[in-house]
Symmetry: none
């Protein structure tokens, strides 16, 4: 049988790389950088430990790559909020609900967790220092101000309120499932922080 052609191999490589990123995202999000053994990543991705190193030079590089890409993705998501349908209140409500989605959950968890984690590689600390949360928050300010004008949102310094709001949302995400009995806080309860 003939060997796979270049295109097929490239595709396998891309898929595998993606799988490893997804698997490591889950583990890093739960256990943090230092607490994550490469053996756990391998198990989560159902591959051998050594294979990770055909796709990433080190655990550190894998982690940094992950953080960089997630930050970029987060930025894109926030930039798009004002294109969502509905009023500003509905747009932010929507965004919040998305953040709790199975899909984005781990991404926000990892970013949130890593921001506080002193065990993270130097480079990651730098990324967070250079790109303060406000950069992301600022993207939402126009939407929020619009909501204030229409009376949907509480008056007050927009960046301050938004910062607190997302501090809280992010913190809750980190808990993965919040309190067992009541689940994650109702988005509407959270939105009270912003609502008039």
């Amino acid at each position: 049988m003939s060997p796979l052609n270049k295109q097929q191999l490239d595709q396998i490589r891309d898929e595998r790389r993606e799988e490893i990123k997804q698997a490591s995202l889950k583990v890093f999000a739960r256990r943090g950088y230092k607490g994550t053994k490469t053996s756990l990543i391998a198990k989560e991705a159902s591959i051998s430990e050594g294979l990770i190193y055909r796709y990433f030079n080190s655990k550190k590089e894998l982690f940094i790559t992950l953080i960089q890409e997630l930050m970029e993705e987060a930025r894109r998501e926030l930039e798009h909020v004002h294109h969502l349908p509905g009023t500003p209140f509905e747009q932010l409500r929507n965004l919040t609900e998305n953040m709790f989605d199975e899909n984005s959950k781990y991404a926000f968890m990892l970013i949130e967790r890593s921001r506080k984690d002193e065990n993270v590689p130097e480079k990651v600390t730098q990324i967070f220092e250079q790109l303060p949360p406000n950069v992301l928050i600022d993207l939402l300010v126009p939407t929020f101000v619009k909501g204030q004008k229409s009376g949907e949102f509480s008056p007050g310094e927009p960046r301050k309120l938004l910062t607190w709001y997302f501090t809280i949302v992010n913190s809750l995400l980190t808990q993965e499932q919040g309190d067992e009995e009541y689940g994650l806080p109702d988005v509407d309860v959270l939105m009270r922080i912003l609502a008039k």
Copy 2:
């Protein structure tokens, strides 16, 4: 000078043990269980690494001891809330402010962090599973209900509201200093979650 007598030696031992617990509390709170090297604890306590092992059998035992004692202390603090002066609203406000105190801060940080941390010793996981946050929350329910009756607090399921409230407060504590620009959320903003 005569050598120290038995009682004095015991006192030194107790003090030293306490110092090690305080030092390790700070480090564990910031870096988590796995991320904390015994060398860092020793440095924080200004002692040698080996000395830790004269007071605790292992890093694990030290950690477990810490968690157990902090949980006990937390319970005592919550039980006392209704003895504080002022209205229920003022009592909870007071409690919240205390939690952000330099003194208790690390304790709450560590507990909150450890609850989510999958790198923690099995025994600690068990402690949290057996002693759900509700046990602590339940201690505040009477106070809260009293506040609802007097119209200070929002109506609704008391345990649910309190659970969310402290989930949020605890999460914020973990961040140590919150957003750099705005600092920790204003306690009054937080209390909006409970307030009518």
Copy 3:
């Protein structure tokens, strides 16, 4: 086109096997046994890594095969020296020049290097122990003695002088290009060691 017949296939196999040996010779000669990654051999031979294993059972076997064949070849070359044209001095001069040839260079480099290398497979160590350089040297003794009698060579124990001479020649080969400024030592300067 009709498929290749058995004979043609055998020829391809032989050629391929030879290519792999040539490529690995170059790499082993430069980097030694342990320092040579199979990936480097594959690259040098412009084939895939896996293909090596269709022609050799292991890196070790490839290496041993190489050493054995090179030793055999070296023996043949030395046996032929006295058939070369010219006086004994010219014959040894000729041999020496051949050793620095692009063709034989790597072979002598590898043998010389491997003789000193403690990272080499056990079997190779044995080959060198069982077949001491003297076996090769002995082949040249008649030629040398002839030259002594004719007054071309310095008097003295022939095997001793020859051993030193080739020790030196081999050592220089290992350096590949000697000192950058002056290149490899002039063969005539080397021959002074033997000359009267």
Copy 4:
């Protein structure tokens, strides 16, 4: 009993560090950089593998340190040649004999070996490129010229002759014990290369 004081500890540390350097020198000299396992260094130094890392950050750092210090030492030794007693011939003869001493042997072996080794850390390659052998050779040129004038040495380009001479001496050193039967070449035979 009271703990060791600072000075004693510093001494232990210095001695240990020196022991590790000596042990690793022996192993690196015989097996090269890549072929040397840290476990072998540990065994040679009769310590645990982990201890190496309290004194050096990595096998690479240990190796680089070694090379740098040996180069420095070599320079000092060559600079001192013209202070040795005797004629220039005797001075170089003396130097050569020193190089074969049990003490310096491994040092010259390692440097010589590493210069040719393509498996060595980048930094080491740079050291050798920046500090070509000629820098060391140049230190001996005055002595050699003096010997030429007094008729002890062969006429000819001093740097060229010296370069070849030491190329050969170094190469022989690498073999550790040369041919078993005849031992290392007689220094006087070697000196013929330089002698008139």
